[in-house]
């Protein structure tokens, strides 16, 4: 028999203690959520306060400062999307981001009943990664009876056509010009030829009635990938 009884006792005690210590150290460590005091800066001070169009509510998001490109490349006079109304809500918005930094001269625009027929790719351009949402064809980022509020850069643009205006030809308008064109943009249904929006934040919501039930985001036959 190896060793005397006392040595064996020490060995067994050591083993039990080691097991106890190891299990104590390793349990509960992994899934500890970051309960930082204020998820968005001290006392959540870095949240933005954003009014949705038409008094539909106030959002207080903590913003990621990541560009979301909504791209629909133009292809001749092909029509790729439909929007009931295009509105400019605020011409000069300053957003505050999660790290406390701010960005000015952004535009708050709203699309009413935005439907995509084809050709749209939504690309999130993060530091060191991209997220691509690529519907094969049709997609809804809003849809009937839903508003799509977008906080975008001024050099974003939409290329639209209307049967009654511009002889139905695709015409590009940058968001910077929206306030001058608001009389026009508000008043008509638009068929879109293309768009290139650099979006900082987007909220899709139903302006009246129950907030749920319409499924404002519909991505049939869509691949979402992290690159």
């Amino acid at each position: 028999m190896t060793g005397n009884r006392r040595r064996q006792r020490v060995l067994v005690l050591f083993a039990l203690v080691a097991l106890l210590v190891a299990s104590t150290i390793t349990t509960g460590g992994r899934d500890e959520p970051a309960h930082a005091a204020g998820a968005c800066g001290p006392n959540d001070a870095y949240r933005s306060t954003l009014q949705l169009y038409g008094g539909a509510g106030t959002l207080r998001p903590c913003l990621s400062k990541v560009n979301i490109n909504v791209g629909i490349p133009q292809s001749g006079q092909s029509h790729f999307f439909d929007i009931q109304k295009i509105r400019i809500i605020e011409d000069n918005v300053t957003l505050r981001y999660a790290d406390g930094s701010t960005e000015s001269n952004l535009k708050h625009i709203t699309f009413e009943s935005f439907n995509v027929r084809d050709n749209m790719t939504l690309t999130v351009d993060g530091p060191g990664y991209d997220v691509r949402m690529a519907p094969d064809a049709a997609a809804v980022i809003g849809g009937e009876g839903v508003n799509t509020d977008l906080w975008v850069t001024g050099d974003s643009f939409v290329t639209v056509s209307s049967i009654i205006l511009f002889f139905g030809l695709c015409t590009t308008a940058s968001v910077n010009l929206f306030s001058n064109l608001s009389w026009l943009l508000n008043g008509s249904s638009w068929t879109g030829c293309g768009m290139n929006l650099d979006v900082r934040f987007m909220a899709v919501y139903r302006p009246t009635g129950s907030t749920t039930g319409l499924f404002p985001i519909k991505l049939p036959n869509t691949t979402i990938s992290v690159l």
Binding site: I68, P135, F201, I217
Partner: protein, 234 residues
């Protein structure tokens, strides 16, 4: 102690009794899981798995880009990947199949976990607090529904740490996706998510909380054939 004449050895009576008890405990656990008494956590990690389900119906849904530390095989090495972490506070799945090709002793083997009642539209798998670390995911049109859908007020561009899913005592938990704080981490928040005919490549998936897995089966088969393409993947 080792006095001559005294023989030491395994006393099989006692041994068998303990083995029997332990096996009964295991059998009890298996029965409890099959009868959905015990919660189960399903975890896939280290390298990508293929996820397939005919539908996910989730409430309080969020997606956010997070840095995931993953182990890189033996030796405790790790590296960091950006993934799109999808979180569902509560969810039902209509059939589930997760498969992964593993090289075991140089031979390709496919590990496959399947669950479900084999009936389309019954959403028999239920769980809460599900997280999937997505590399890519594709939802398609089918007889049961179409692609990836979100309901309620959907917000794009939130910080991933601001995405909310689970609640404790009616209050949203802070940072349920366990995302990094600060800027640079994109997030989407929605009230509800209905995903149909999903095929995806994921690292790491956890379904915590109460979780029922009817007809759970785990198979290891030679070769590389994963979940099939049928509406209810097997």
């Amino acid at each position: 102690m080792a006095a001559s004449g005294v023989v030491y050895g395994t006393r099989w009576g006692r041994t068998n009794a303990l083995v029997l008890i332990a096996l009964l405990v295991i059998a009890g656990i298996v029965v409890a899981v099959k009868q959905q008494v015990i919660a189960a956590n399903l975890v896939f990690q280290s390298s990508t798995s293929q996820l397939a389900t005919s539908a996910i119906d989730g409430s309080d849904v969020g997606f956010g880009v997070v840095r995931m530390t993953r182990s890189t095989g033996s030796g405790g090495g790790t590296d960091v990947k950006n993934v799109l972490r999808g979180g569902f506070a509560n969810g039902k799945l209509d059939g589930l199949c997760v498969s992964q090709v593993q090289s075991i002793l140089g031979v390709n083997m496919t590990l496959k976990i399947t669950a479900g009642d084999g009936v389309l539209g019954t959403y028999e798998i239920q769980g809460s607090n599900a997280l999937f670390d997505i590399v890519s995911i594709r939802g398609t049109n089918g007889s049961n529904g179409s692609g990836i859908n979100m309901d309620g007020r959907a917000q794009f561009g939130l910080a991933a740490s601001d995405v909310t899913t689970t609640k404790t005592n009616g209050v949203f938990d802070i940072n349920p996706l366990e995302a990094d704080q600060g800027t640079g981490w994109f997030g989407i928040d929605a009230d509800k998510g209905n995903l149909y005919n999903i095929r995806g490549t994921i690292y790491d998936g956890v379904i915590g909380g109460p979780f029922s897995l009817p007809n759970l089966s785990i198979t290891v088969t030679p070769g590389t054939s994963g979940c099939d393409a049928s509406p209810l993947p097997k």
